[in-house]
């Protein structure tokens, strides 16, 4: 906290959770998307979180063993699930293939809603940490001023 590293840590958590909220929004928005072939149908996306030493977040920084306590979080990538979506017989749909099928996304809406709540709670935790640390630092600055 003394070297303002706590802001980097909580900030990295907030940005990672907001990426997660973004993927949830993308998945929910595309829950009803259909496609003409199973391969091009929308697949649910998930971010992959990874712990990283916060002093390494700035480019070109050298590892500092005294800072190893500060594990920030980074999004190392976005993965698409491979589960197949359902095939629906809709011969009237302009996207239907030769057999009259359209292929829907594999998004599970209920799972996405649960994921959204989990992400927003984690985000709130990070905000709380940030606010508390900020007020502690301000108190420390005012030390001895009566």
């Amino acid at each position: 906290m003394a070297d303002f590293n706590i802001f980097n840590i909580a900030g990295s958590g907030m940005s990672a959770e907001s990426v997660r909220l973004n993927t949830v929004a993308s998945n929910l928005a595309n829950a009803d998307s259909v496609s003409g072939s199973p391969n091009t149908a929308y697949k649910a996306r998930y971010p992959v979180f990874q712990a990283i030493q916060s002093s390494l977040m700035s480019p070109g920084a050298a590892p500092d063993p005294t800072q190893a306590a500060d594990a920030a979080v980074q999004v190392s990538g976005i993965v698409q699930t491979t589960a197949p979506g359902t095939a629906n017989y809709q011969p009237g749909n302009p996207l239907a293939d030769a057999n009259g099928y359209v292929y829907s996304s594999n998004v599970n809406v209920v799972e996405q809603m649960a994921d959204m709540i989990s992400a927003s709670r984690s985000y709130q935790n990070d905000v709380q940490v940030l606010e508390t640390s900020k007020s502690l630092m301000l108190d420390t600055l005012k030390l001895g001023q009566i």
């Binding site: 990295s12 306590a69 992400a119 502690l136 420390t140």
Partner: protein, 138 residues
């Protein structure tokens, strides 16, 4: 009678240092609450405070067991928290290997905050005592 300001302020400045380092570790746990495989950590407070305190301080905690971690300052005299980091024993392990319990980390963080504020208040009182002594209570 010369006044040694460090001795007068006692253990509180050292305690503040360790509390702020602990806040870092707890913030890291909370930020990684959803990282697969991340294992929650915390500081061994007694050992860290013993290392941060100045030698000869009567209030300085000492090691009582042979297994306790002893002080080892880094080259620049600052104390590294890394050696006092311990992994938490998970209450409810998750399938993805993450051992962060957000609720517990949050409560530990709140506790750490209150202690930090208490140490600040003690320091504040020390300073106002000193001001009273200097001004003669006027």
């Amino acid at each position: 009678m010369p006044l040694n300001l460090n001795a007068y302020l006692g253990i509180e400045p050292d305690a503040l240092k360790v509390y702020s380092q602990r806040a870092d570790v707890l913030a890291a746990n909370l930020a990684n609450a959803d990282t697969p495989g991340y294992q929650a950590r915390d500081i061994d407070f007694r050992a860290a405070l013993a290392a941060a305190g100045s030698p000869g301080d009567p209030l300085r905690p000492t090691t009582t067991n042979p297994g306790d971690v002893t002080a080892a300052a880094t080259a620049d005299g600052s104390v590294s928290t890394e050696q006092f980091l311990k992994y938490r024993v998970p209450l409810a392990p998750a399938l993805d290997g993450n051992t962060v319990d957000s609720q517990m980390e949050e409560s530990q963080f709140a506790q750490n905050t209150v202690r930090y504020q208490a140490a600040l208040t003690f320091l504040e009182n020390r300073f106002s005592e000193l001001t009273t002594a200097i001004t003669g209570g006027q």
